[in-house]
Amino acid sequence: MNLAQLSDRFEIRDLIVRYANALDARSFQWLDEIFTPDAYVDYRATGGIDGPYAKIREWLPGATGAFPHMCHLVGNIAVTLDEDTARARTLCLNPVEVPLPAGGSQVMFLAMWYADELIRTSSGWRMRRRVQEGCIQHNVPSHLTQMPAATSR
């Protein structure tokens, strides 16, 4: 691997980590420097919406605002470079603290993969497509009825 390829890999990994940090720190404005303006994002596998980035950006603060704590631990980042575009697949372990209707809270554990398409722009690498693929769901509170059942493979 040459220096340019190593650099691309690090920058793409940084982008994937910055996405997680933007959500976990509720700094949604950081996402403007992660996605291309016309990116397509699909969160339907974990009960969310899909659509163009502008719609996702507007939806995220409300969709995650009720959770006192959450984190998105990403790993297994597999990157395939093709000059100025790239594909990546990332595993994410996502514990989310959910307030309960009767008081108190409960931590549910979700896992998912992100299937990403990336593009090199004049400002660096950006995501132009991110599609979630569901994995395990553990300890999901019963009132979260919008959560789709984990699909078996």
Binding site: L3, A4, L6, S7, F10, E11, D14, V17, R18, A20, N21, D24, H69, M70, C71, H72, L73, V74, G75, L93, P95, V96, E97, V107, F109, N139
Partner: protein
């Protein structure tokens, strides 16, 4: 494009967080001497621990952690910003802890936390000069451990 120096700094700084986790998980406290500067400030208060300078923290870790039969610190999402010979970092850690129960037996609690770090380049390589914990989720914490700060 990142230069070889930038890539090297990045890898060395990431390795410090991994080395910290491995030192703690294997009970190899002296290994921490290669992670922290001698006067590093460490703050574990958000998860029920103490804060202070490295020598005090090292002693405390060796006293407190052996009370837990098993534990691990899985770190990830390591975000680093290098400015010359200093750097800052943010790292996520998922920390399952096997905790002894007063009535016997044990229970595994799952803690999520971030480390907010400061680093300095020394003659021996990068070292951590500050590590402050920030709490995230807590799952399955035994009732007698309810002193965990939120």
């Amino acid at each position: 494009m990142l230069s070889l120096q930038e890539l090297s700094d990045r890898v060395e700084l990431e390795q410090l967080s991994v080395r910290y986790a491995n030192a703690i998980d294997s009970g190899n406290w002296d290994e921490l001497d290669q992670v922290f500067t001698p006067d590093a400030y460490i703050d574990y208060r958000k998860l029920g621990g103490i804060d202070g300078r490295y020598p005090q923290i090292k002693k405390w870790l060796a006293e407190v952690l052996p009370n837990f039969p098993n534990y691990c610190h899985l770190v990830g999402n390591i975000a680093i910003t290098v400015t010359g010979d200093t750097a800052t970092g943010r790292t996520l850690c998922i920390n399952p802890m096997d905790t002894k129960l007063p009535a016997g037996g044990s229970q595994v609690m799952f803690l999520g936390l971030w480390y907010k770090d400061k680093f300095t380049r020394t003659a021996q390589g990068w070292r951590m000069s500050e590590r402050v914990e920030e709490a995230c989720f807590q799952h399955n914490v035994p009732a007698h451990m309810a002193m965990l700060a939120r």
